[in-house]
């Protein structure tokens, strides 16, 4: 048996020779990689290497920043070029959810936070809302903690709980892909562990892309790892292979702490 006969995983996201600039300053210099479905892909690299920028291109949230623009190459999600002018941005963002570095629940009740995305997409049925809110909170293992205080402010939760609430809010909108931008950088180790466990569970249903500073986190909970440095992709491959036998000298240096 040759390994070619194994069905290769269908890529969920294909990035081809992507260039990205803030004004006149190019920050991503031609990056190509394809991200497989139903796996966790980690973006690592030192600060300012373009990993967060790349992540924020995937749901086009960078559009908000004046002067920020893709200047070359393409991003395809499910085979669709997301730069095409007739793209439905709202549907793209619903199907490609995002969790931010600093947890940002709305100053509303826990229930309203989860229901926000559902209501925006036209769900008004009370019972359906209740069910979906409960389901989303169960997925992130918050339900038992908050079921008695769904109507109280989300700000009463701890940082880790708030971040999991944000993940639940994203899941409630029924995405296919979840982008996480350093979701644990401001969490304590125990909360970080809970989020990581959650990600490993979510892998079965969602394609996950996570940006992280924490190398241990990348090695613990990702299937693929991409190392960026100064806007370029240095190495991309299977996580265990990359951490144990990196192909590139710079990868080895970064992993062992020689730079970055």
């Amino acid at each position: 048996m040759v390994s070619d006969s194994v069905q290769p995983a269908i890529p969920a996201i294909e990035i081809e020779n992507l260039r990205f600039s803030y004004g006149t300053k190019e920050v991503i210099h031609g990056v190509s990689l394809s991200i497989p479905a139903n796996q966790i892909t980690a973006f690592i690299g030192p600060s300012g290497c373009g990993k967060s920028t790349l992540l924020r291109c995937l749901n086009r949230i960078n559009d908000r920043i004046p002067g920020a623009a893709i200047t070359g190459g393409s991003i395809r999600i499910g085979g669709i070029d997301i730069s095409r002018p007739d793209l439905d941005l709202q549907v793209l963002r619903r199907r490609v959810g995002m969790v931010f570095q600093k947890w940002n629940p709305f100053p509303k009740s826990i229930y309203d936070n989860i229901a926000y995305g559902l209501r925006i997409h036209g769900e008004t049925n009370r019972k359906a809302l209740d069910e979906k809110v409960e389901h989303s909170l169960r997925v992130v293992a918050l339900w038992d903690d908050v079921k008695d205080r769904l109507k109280t402010s989300a700000f009463g939760l701890s940082g880790g709980q708030q971040q999991r609430l944000c993940i639940a809010r994203t899941i409630a909108a029924k995405p296919d892909i979840i982008l996480l931008d350093e979701p644990c950088s401001a969490l304590d180790p125990l909360s970080t562990l809970k989020v990581e466990e959650l990600l490993l569970e979510l892998r079965n249903d969602y394609t996950i892309v996570i940006v992280t500073h924490n190398l241990a986190q990348a090695s613990r909970c990702s299937d693929q790892t991409a190392l960026f440095y100064l806007g370029e992709l240095i190495e991309y491959g299977n996580t265990s292979q990359m951490f144990q036998a990196p192909r590139e000298k710079r990868t080895e240096d970064y992993i062992t702490g020689a730079f970055g």
Partner: protein, 373 residues
């Protein structure tokens, strides 16, 4: 430590004296300001409060608040007793006692009765103008902070809006006179001769002949005056809402407008309400903008009396407290018989602005308690 005795002060302590002088000077200036404020308020309360309050229940002089303004007649009767009666009661008295029974009659315009007309007029003008200004101002602020591409042009627009806040109120009055009173468009079947432009619409005409001196013209002028404050403050409050809320909402697939409506505007509300508190007090207090556009010194009917439709309220002229005070101060020689109306009006006016502000502050705090993050 060498020479520890340096720690002990010797001779004249210049720094200490300078410090004392500065402190005394700054404190003195502060107390001077307080003294001026106390004198102003003291005089108005000293002379105004007795008109407003009375000893028996309900402890407030309801006649002064609810009666219309009339001419005050002061005269002696046959026994030499001095009477002070507003015009309506004076005519009754005269018809029952005969014209011959009136001696030494003096009349004081606007000094009899109460000040119901000016109170009602000021309330209507203020509320209407703040509503108009909030509608236009918040819309503009949302556009400027959320939609407009930030560049040099928008910078100039902002500067222009800020400068508008410094324009003297009499200039706004003249502007309102030229635009709203003389040139604003109305729908009419028979355009006036002085109409600037009459566009036939088939069933009626759109005629640019102005709204005349009216409640709506005055409110529109006041709205223009407070607009810059409302726009600037609303824009600041919108900008103070964390970007994270916007990104979270957009990332869930919300449109820009959904995002603004559900997760930006509600949290900017306390700031917007604060700015409207300030504008409310300012709109209520201005005389110059309404002088040519809405206010009259004397009016027999309240705004809703003698009008066919609710629209008639808007197109009628009104009395207003600041203009009433101006009239009382300027047109009538002050005497013991006029002080009741003069100080009473000022006192009621102060009280009204205080109540406006207090109500808005309470409202703002309630919204803020609900919308904090």
């Amino acid at each position: 430590m060498k020479n520890p005795e340096q720690l002990i002060r010797r001779g004249v302590h210049r720094k200490g004296i300078a410090e004392g002088i500065v402190k005394t000077f700054l404190g003195g200036m502060t107390w001077a300001v307080i003294a001026v404020a106390l004198m102003i308020f003291g005089r108005m309360i000293w002379d105004g409060a007795p008109v407003f309050f009375k000893k028996e229940a309900p402890f407030v002089n309801m006649d002064f608040l609810t009666k219309k303004t009339e001419t005050l007649h002061v005269f002696d009767d046959a026994e030499g007793i001095r009477h002070q009666l507003p015009a309506s009661e004076f005519h009754q008295w005269k018809s029952s006692h005969g014209t011959d029974a009136v001696f030494n009659e003096q009349t004081f315009s606007y000094c009899g009765g109460g000040i119901a007309g000016p109170i009602v007029g000021t309330v209507l003008l203020t509320l209407l103008s703040v509503m108009m200004a909030l509608f236009f101002g918040v819309s503009a602020a949302i556009y400027l902070s959320e939609y407009a591409k930030q560049g040099r042009f928008i910078g100039w627009v902002r500067l222009a809006i800020l400068n508008l806040a410094g324009v003297p109120s009499i200039v706004f009055g003249l502007f309102g006179f030229a635009v709203f009173v003389l040139a604003a468009p109305i729908l009419t079947d028979t355009p006036a001769d002085r109409s600037l432009l009459a566009i036939p619409l088939g069933f009626t005409h759109l005629s640019f002949e102005g709204w005349g001196s009216s409640l709506i013209a005055g409110a529109a002028t006041l709205a223009c005056m407070i607009l810059p404050v409302i726009i600037t403050a609303s824009e600041e409050s919108l900008k103070a809402v964390p970007q994270g809320f916007r990104e979270a909402s957009l990332a869930l697939g919300a449109t820009r407008w959904q995002t603004i409506r559900k997760s930006v505007l509600p949290f900017a509300m306390p700031g917007i309400l604060t700015s409207s508190v300030l504008s409310l007090a300012r709109a209520a207090g201005e005389t110059a903008p309404i002088m040519f556009t809405a206010a009259v010194a004397a009016k027999d009917d309240l705004p809703w009396e003698g009008v066919g439709s609710p629209l008639g309220v808007l197109t009628g002229q009104v009395q207003a407290l600041p203009y009433h005070i101006y009239t009382l101060a300027l047109k009538i020689p002050t005497s013991e018989y006029t002080e009741r109306a003069q100080f009473g009006s000022v006192f009621v006016f102060l009280l009204m602005i205080f109540l406006f502000s207090a109500a808005s502050v309470v409202l703002r705090n309630r919204v803020r308690a609900k919308m904090k993050w």
